[in-house]
Structures are given as C-alpha cells and as structure tokens.
C-alpha cells in the first residue's frame, strides 16, 4: 500500500505544515505573556490567567456564539431538509440545475452577501416593510421596531451563509437511497409518512450529521455576520478574538480564546460521532 501513502503525501504535508503545526503553536502562545506592549516577542510562563481573563470577559460571548450557531443550524435544517428532499425526489432531470442554484449564492463573497443583507433588513428596507405589513411585529423578532443589528438578523445571516453546506450533504445522502426501497415500502402498503419515517429518515441520517457539523462549526466561528448584521450586544467570539489580536495586541489571550472555541467545537464533533459512529458522517 506504499502508493496510497504517496497519494496522501501532498495533502498530509499541507495539513501538517500549514494547519497542524501552527495550531499546535497556539498552545504555548496561549500560555505566554507579551514581553512588551508593541513588540512581537512573548515569554512562555504557564500563564493560565490568559484563559481565565478571556473567559471572564468573553464567556457570555462564547455561549452566545454557540446559541446563534445552534439556532441558525436548526433553522437551516428546517429549510434544507425539505429542499433536499424536493431536489432528490422531485427534481428529475433538473437536479443538477437545482443544486447549482443552491450553490449559486456561495459564488459571491460572503462579505458582500452580509453587506447586501444590511440593505434588505435596514429600517427602511423591504423585509421590515413586509413584516410590518403582515402584522408580525409582535413576535419578539424585532428590537425597538427594527430588524437590522438584532439577534434575528444575525441568525438569518448565518442561516443563509450555511444553507448550501446543509443542503449538499443531505442531497448526497438522499441520492444514495434506492428508489426500489421506497417502491418496496409502497408495495407493503406504507403511506407517504411511514415511507419517510421508516426509509428516508434513517437512511438520510449520515447526511444529516455531516450537514450539522459543516454548519455548526463555521457558524460558531463566524466574524462577518455579527459584525454587519448585529450590534454590540450580538458580537460573537470570533469578533472578540480578532479584537484581542488586532486592536488590543494581546495575541496570547486571543490564542487562548481560539483554543477554547476549537475545544468546544471538538466536543460537538465527538458527541456526534459517539452517538452515531463514523458511519453517520457518510465517510465510507
């Protein structure tokens, strides 16, 4: 199997040099203290206070990040699952086109999309006008009668960013379901609901797990949506990390927060894997 290693080598080298090593470098950095305020040198000193300070100030922001990520992923799944089913079972020869349409927004920079949302959700924008016209202003989605720079706007933005990453794994998983299974279920007098519950849903679970991970993790670390669509009360953890690194010049504390974020994301992955096993990730 030596040739397998040769095929793997470029990818492994890339990941090791450009991902794993810098990542491991964060660990000592997060336990260091800067030697001077504007210099780059740090000294390793087992400074656990970096974690304590970071969590003290930004702990609530971290919780908020996962809450927003969870909400947007849940909302995204509600949209993505029926969409994926429709593409798979009703798309027919239009399937490639429909998948293309789902991916189309990703061709625009997500920065530009977030800024586009600010126009749509603005105080004089069409969405708020529609919400008011439909009399939906009392659902608790607005804050002081506005939509932009609220939690609602951030969750909407995150959902739209993550939607393609939810739809694609689901479509792939659903495409693996053989039509004959559905036909067999129908022959055995299973109605549409039972066919879904007993055939489609269990067989789509690998895609569901992949979709969850692909959405939840990037959403928890998002910078752009909270920056443009949120206000200071909707900041997420990546904003705090960027501020620590680029404004306060506190690289060790930024590293500490980044590692906490990754550890928590890692726990999420582990929980999903433990529940369903690697099969759930459609890896085989």
């Amino acid at each position: 199997m030596w040739w397998a290693w040769i095929l793997l080598a470029p990818g492994l080298l890339w990941l090791t040099l450009l991902y794993l090593l810098p990542l491991l470098g964060l660990v000592p950095l997060s336990l260091s203290e800067p030697l001077s305020r504007f210099g780059l040198e740090t000294r390793f000193s087992w400074r656990l206070a970096n974690y304590a300070d970071g969590m003290g100030t930004y702990g609530p922001v971290l919780l908020r990040s996962f809450a927003f990520a969870g909400l947007s992923t849940a909302l995204g799944l509600l949209l993505a699952y029926p969409l994926a089913c429709a593409i798979r079972f009703r798309g027919g020869r239009w399937q490639p086109l429909l998948i293309g349409l789902v991916v189309l927004p990703s061709l625009t920079s997500y920065l530009v999309r977030a800024i586009g949302w600010t126009s749509l959700l603005g105080d004089n924008g069409p969405v708020l006008g529609l919400v008011a016209a439909l009399g939906l202003t009392d659902l608790g989605l607005l804050r002081d009668g506005r939509l932009l720079n609220t939690p609602t706007a951030v969750v909407l933005g995150l959902t739209s960013t993550q939607l393609p990453f939810l739809v694609l794994p689901l479509v792939v998983a659903l495409q693996r379901i053989e039509r004959r299974l559905l036909e067999a279920a129908a022959d055995l007098h299973a109605g549409p609901w039972r066919r879904f519950r007993l055939v489609v849903w269990p067989l789509s679970r690998p895609g569901l797990a992949s979709a969850l991970l692909l959405s939840l993790i990037p959403a928890a670390g998002d910078v752009v949506n909270p920056l443009f669509l949120g206000g200071p009360n909707e900041r997420m953890i990546a904003n705090a990390i960027a501020n620590l690194l680029l404004v306060q010049l506190q690289a060790p504390r930024a590293a500490a927060l980044a590692l906490v974020l990754m550890a928590l994301s890692g726990v999420a992955v582990w929980l999903l894997l433990r529940r369903g096993g690697p099969d759930d990730l459609a890896l085989q």
Binding site: R37, F38, G39, L40, T57, Y58, P60, V61, L111, V112, I115, T118, S119, G122, D123, N124, G125, R143, D144, G145, R146, L148, N149, V223, V224, L227, F228, G231, P232, N233, R235, N239, A240, A242, N243, L244, L245, L246, V247, Q248, L249
Partner: protein
Amino acid sequence: MTLHPPISGHPPVPGVRPTVPSRRRFLRQLGLAAAGSVLAPPLLQACRGQGGGTADPTSGGGELVISSFPLYIDTDEPDAPGSVARFRADTGIQLRYLEDINDTRQFFARIQPQLAAGRPLSQDLLVLTSWLAARLIGLGWVEPLPLAEVPNAANLIPTLRNPSWDPKGRYSLPWQSGIAGIAYNIKATGRELTGVDDLFDPALKGRVSALLEMRDTMGLLMLADGQDISAPSWQAAQPSFDRLERARRDGQIRRFTGNDYQNDLLAGNLAACIGWSGDVAQLTQEEPDLRFLVPQTGGVLWADVMVMPKGARHPQAAARWMNWVYDPVEAARIAAAVLYISPVQGVREILARDPATAELASNPLMFPDAATQQRLRVFGPLSESEEARWEERFAAITEG
C-alpha cells in the same frame, strides 16, 4: 490663482459637486471601507512589502508608495485628473497611492510585524492619526523627514507645526484635521440636537451609534462630563465608560462603527451618531437633512499626519509629494474634495475666489469660527500601560 481656469494646462477641476460621484456612493454602500478592515490579514501586508527596489522613482525605477485612508484625496473625474495623476504628470514620479487604512488600530497590527523585526515596509509615507504617529515615533519606527526638501511647509498653519508628541516637528507633517462631533438627521430626530445628552435620549433608542475610535467617543463623553481630555485620567474617565456601557447594554447604542456610520446615516438606520466633520460635510451634499453639531461641552479636534516609516526607500520622492500637496492651490483642490480642515494657509482665500468653490470658504466645518474653535479640545497622550487599560475597558464595551 483660482481653481478655474485650469492650472498648467490641465482641464478644470470640479469644485463643489452638487452630488457626490456615483463611484464614491457605490463604494460607500458596499461598505468596502468596513469590509476591508475585517479581512485585511497582516500577512498580505508582509507579502507585498518586497519589490519596489531602491531606485529613485524620478528616474523611472521603483515607485513612491503612500498608504492613506479611503476618500481622503481628490479623485480622477472625467477630463479632470485627481491629485495623484497630476503629481505623476507634474513630477514624472511613479506614485502608488493606496487607500488601505480603514481602521487605524488594525493598520498598526498589519505593519507591526515588519517594523518590529526591523524590515522596511513597501510604503514611503503613511497617513496616520496623530496618536498612532506618536506611538511609532516613540517606538523609533519612523525616519526623520527630509524637511529641507519641503520648503512649502512654510505655508502650514503655525499651530499645526511641532505638536506636543513631536515637539521639534522632525517626524511628522500634517495631512488634514477634523472634528469628532455629533451627526444627525433632522428628519429622523424630529428636532435639533443640542449636546451629547441627546445621544442618550430614550426617544432615539437603537438609532444611535458611536465610533470605535476610542479617543473620539470617550473624548466627547468626557467633555460632556466636564472632564479635561488634554490630560486624560483613568479615574476621571470611569463615569463616561459606565455611561457608555449602560447605553450599550440597554440597546441605546445600535453599533460601534468606523467610517461605515455613513451608510447607516444615509440608509436611515441611524438618527444620530458620533461622526467626523468632513464625512458629514460630504454626506450633506447628497442628504441635506444631515446636521453636524459641535456640542457646547466641546468637540474633539484630531489631526492626521504624514510619517515616513523606518527604512523608507524613496525619501526624496516623498519630500516632493509633501512639498507638492502644501502648494496652496493643490491643497485647496484636496480640501474642496475631502471637506476637512486643511493644514495649509491661504486655502480659504483660493476657494473663495473661485465661484464654483466659494461656498466652501464659508463652510464652518472646514474653517471653524472662533466660537467653535474655543470648544475644540485635543485628546492628550496616554502612557503605554494606561492605553492598554483604556483599550481593554473600551473593547469590553464594544465587543463584549
């Protein structure tokens, strides 16, 4: 001399523009200024640093590179080249003018790795806010300016020479100054505003923004509390920090912004905000309902200056540029486009003489009257450790 008719064979320069050009508007609406500050990795700066070479840009080798804020110079209009193009034509110097400073604080993070390691930047001149210039001077990361080759510096307003943080004026020369004050849309507020307290009016809840530039936001609030900001003290600042923190938590303050408050003002998302005089003067040209207020309690006067980073490769060409922009006619063109306070004497007279720009000569934001000047204060220096403490508290409010 006037801006019309054309000078030295160049087509006329548009003076007052009834509307801000569409390009500018487009950029602003895209919020690219803000966008750039999000995704400007320090690496990019580091990678771009090489090249250029040491050749003299006047002889066609290498090029003079300047980094500045966006929308801070007159741009090319149809049949009327902007300052950068005219400088190139007049001097034969290859000039690359970058509008890549969107957030002063993040710009420092970009240049820090190279300067700390003793490697030169690709830029020969940086246009920076004075507190950052002071920081670079203190760190020894800037070169003395070749002042002997900038005879037009004699045209500068005397009070702008030799600021407290560069007492001999060896390292910095002024670019433009401006005022941090309160901008508001009279239609949205429904009334004239009179002071900083209006920003905390519950009637404006969620339609107010403050600046991420700590000295401007904190300066205005502290002045409203009757504090002296020329020698800012941590203790004296606490009530203002507390007030800001409460307002943020209550949702009174919708956002903390850089330049991007302009989008929100034009889009009607903000009724009032802390903003900068020149921006608002520009915006007023497309939105006549906008007002700019220097509160009775005081406004924050700031200055942006030019400094030459350590190891700059083209000091002679940089001197030519500084000398060129201090020509009163050129300075008037820049002032007519950016609407900030020009550092050059005689700009007002030149603007007044040209019918197209005469109105600007009486613009109180460009030429503050004596009463306004009385109310302007400069935010004083903070020591390194003090600054760290201030920024930590401020960040806990803006990012927490």
